[in-house]
């Protein structure tokens, strides 16, 4: 999408454009406001999930000193939360842009990464719980 509509007004380094895409209102035409609001709620839901994972990670480290490997689980959850937080705005901007241009959404691996990641931590946590003294 970015390649089709280069943003000529603000030349930004590619890494910054990838992490924090420019204002999606620069391209296309405004979609039905309900879609814009739905996209915004999806973004906020990702943000809250990232914050919940961060809380879980800090909690695992601080509150479970007797659980074997609780540090590893905590750090893993915090890494997962960092990945989500880093992708949330990007997803929002790309979706907004796609809606404004009337093109399909950019496919995202993020839901798959999250599902597999959290499932993995649940299983590892259960095993460690059984192994803990």
């Amino acid at each position: 999408v970015n390649d089709e509509c280069p943003d000529a007004t603000s030349p930004r380094p590619p890494w910054l454009e990838k992490l924090v895409p420019s204002d999606p209102r620069l391209v296309g035409s405004e979609p039905d406001y309900r879609f814009t609001l739905a996209n915004e709620r999806t973004f906020l839901a990702w943000i809250r999930t990232a914050l919940a994972l961060a809380a879980g990670g800090l909690g695992a480290i601080a509150l479970l000193p007797d659980l074997l490997g609780s540090e590893a689980i905590g750090l893993g959850l915090l890494v997962l939360s960092f990945i989500m937080a880093a992708s949330a705005y990007r997803r929002w901007a790309l979706n907004e842009e796609a809606m404004r241009l009337g093109v399909p959404f950019t496919p995202s691996r993020l839901p798959a990464v999250m599902a597999v990641g959290t499932a993995l931590f649940v299983v590892v946590g259960a095993v460690l719980l059984l192994l803990s003294p």
């Binding site: 924090v20 943000i47 914050l51 961060a54 990670g57 750090l75 939360s81 960092f82």
Partner: protein
């Protein structure tokens, strides 16, 4: 939008808009929550550099909460007048603040774990 007076929205629009405002408010509470948790974590772990960052996080969460309530009316008007309702500025701020919160939490946790393992003085 014919049966409604000025400043009023049809029920469907009002509910969409209300759900979105509530989502912003939940997110603001989550930001304040992670601020409190991070602050507590930093205090217990004696990471005094992290403490002011945690307090700033709580304050930003409170500001987002106030903003969401205050912006509600203005956005009703934008929908009514069929203006653009997207506002990347707020999304960008919350996205970056959340990224910073997650990054600081991760760094604080790494420091605590490394210290507990005895790899730090």
């Amino acid at each position: 939008m014919s049966d409604t007076g000025p400043g009023e929205l049809p029920a469907v629009a009002g509910l969409q808009h209300e759900r979105t405002t509530l989502a912003w408010e939940r997110t603001a509470f989550a930001l304040m929550g992670i601020g409190v948790i991070l602050g507590r974590f930093a205090a217990v772990s004696e990471l005094w550099l992290v403490e002011p960052l945690a307090i700033v996080l709580v304050l930003i969460g409170a500001a987002v909460l106030v903003w969401a309530g205050a912006f509600y009316e203005r956005r009703s008007l934008a929908i009514e007048l069929e203006h653009d309702v997207a506002h990347p500025g707020a999304a960008r701020l919350v996205g970056i603040v959340t990224l910073a919160a997650c990054a600081v939490s991760l760094v604080a946790a790494v420091v605590v774990v490394v210290r507990d393992l005895g790899w730090l003085p």
